[in-house]
Amino acid sequence: MEQKLLNLYHDTGLYQLELGQAAMIVVGLLLVFLAIKKGFEPLLLLPIGIGAILVNIPGAGFMAAPVYDATGHMVSPGGLQYYIYHGGIETGLFPLIIFMGVGAMTDFGPMLANPKTLLLGAAAQFGIFATVIGAVLLGAFGIMDFTLADAAAIGIIGGADGPTAIFVASRLAPELLGAIAVAAYSYMALVPLIQPPIMRALTSVEERSIKMEQLRPVSKTEKIIFPIVVTILVAMFLPSAAPLLGMFCFGNLMRECGVVDRLSDTAQNALINIVTIFLGLGVGSKLSAEAFLNIETLGILSLGLIAFSIGTATGVLMAKMMNKFSSTAINPLIGAAGVSAVPMAARVANKVGLEANKQNFLLMHAMGPNVAGVIGSAVAAGVMLSYVGG
């Protein structure tokens, strides 16, 4: 009896809790606070925060592996997050399903009306690769322990696209997954703070006031064919990007084709919601003290911020250049939307544009580079998977 009481005491969190775990529970609470009070991408950061809290409860066994005896009979079951992480994240299933749902929510109309804006989505990916160099330098000089695969996974934060970042990190640097996902979603939430100063610094008021001509209407047929074209081009030129872009285009085709509305609706609602809950809990399971409380996380957070800033800058600069050579006027602000972070970055471009000229509505024009940025970072992800893995 006293023994049992002692056991119970030894089972308590108070007895077992290590400092690192306590700190990570605080990190989890912070994420929950940012999600609820500050509105930081709550759909992801709330489940991630809770996942971080749960996985750090000592003795709760959320990441316990199941134990089987020699005959394959289960001796003790695994923890919830063990099954979620190994079933849905390590396999890549959850980010791909979410990407399909995002595809079903995406309207490529504005981009199809002005395909040149795809260049802006390309330019803004420079943030990704500049960050890779940064991470590589930190690794090469022994400041932090980054391999090339780590550097690539960190760079993808600059892609401003959650599922892409999680998919790449799960393949190239699973031990950094937690920090990378947290950085990606946090900075996506901080887009309205990070981007405007950079946008203002690189443009004059006149440039920010440029009005763009109204977009032409885009036909249903174009919208249906576009995802098929992208899929075929990916198949031809970059198969390593096919999982991401193939599922994205599949989702978009379900949306646009008009004959499978019930599937499109489920992909956009029940299915993506279910997977989001579990993705968040699974990502949170990587927020353990050993994996998160170290100098590398600091590096990841700093590099992620740099990646975002550089991507914003190169997007704006490319738009300025295009404005010089293009027959139709291009407001450089829409270049910033090329980082993706759909639809937040497009809204930021619209807001900064309105500051300069109250009649200047850039939202629709910025949606083009915005969705182009999704394709751009998926392509960048494919190159990385091919280059680092190959």
């Binding site: 995406t106 260049l119 390309a122 550097a151 885009v218 064919i225 081009l233 392509v379």
Partner: protein, 81 residues
């Protein structure tokens, strides 16, 4: 160490090169596709359905069209009484 930096630079060059290459091809393909569609499958009334709509911001959903239709019908019926 040198190797790592070299690899990083290689990744940057190849990566940005490929991103631009791919999106340029996509521009060409898309433009071509749009022209083909405009020539061979012109739509009487081009569907501008939701051109304005950004990718549905998560959480925000407009009024259900079924609801709207039901209400329109109800109001109509009511007025005719």
């Amino acid at each position: 160490m040198n190797n790592l930096i070299n690899d990083g630079l290689g990744l940057m060059l190849l990566g940005m090169g490929f991103v631009f290459l791919f999106l340029c091809i996509l521009i060409v393909a898309t433009t071509f596709m749009s022209k083909l569609v405009a020539r061979y499958f012109p739509e009487a009334a081009p569907v501008i359905k939701k051109t304005v709509s950004t990718p549905t911001p998560i959480g925000a959903q407009g009024t259900d069209p079924k609801v709207a239709a039901a209400i329109t019908a109800a109001i109509h019926q009511h007025r005719n009484r």
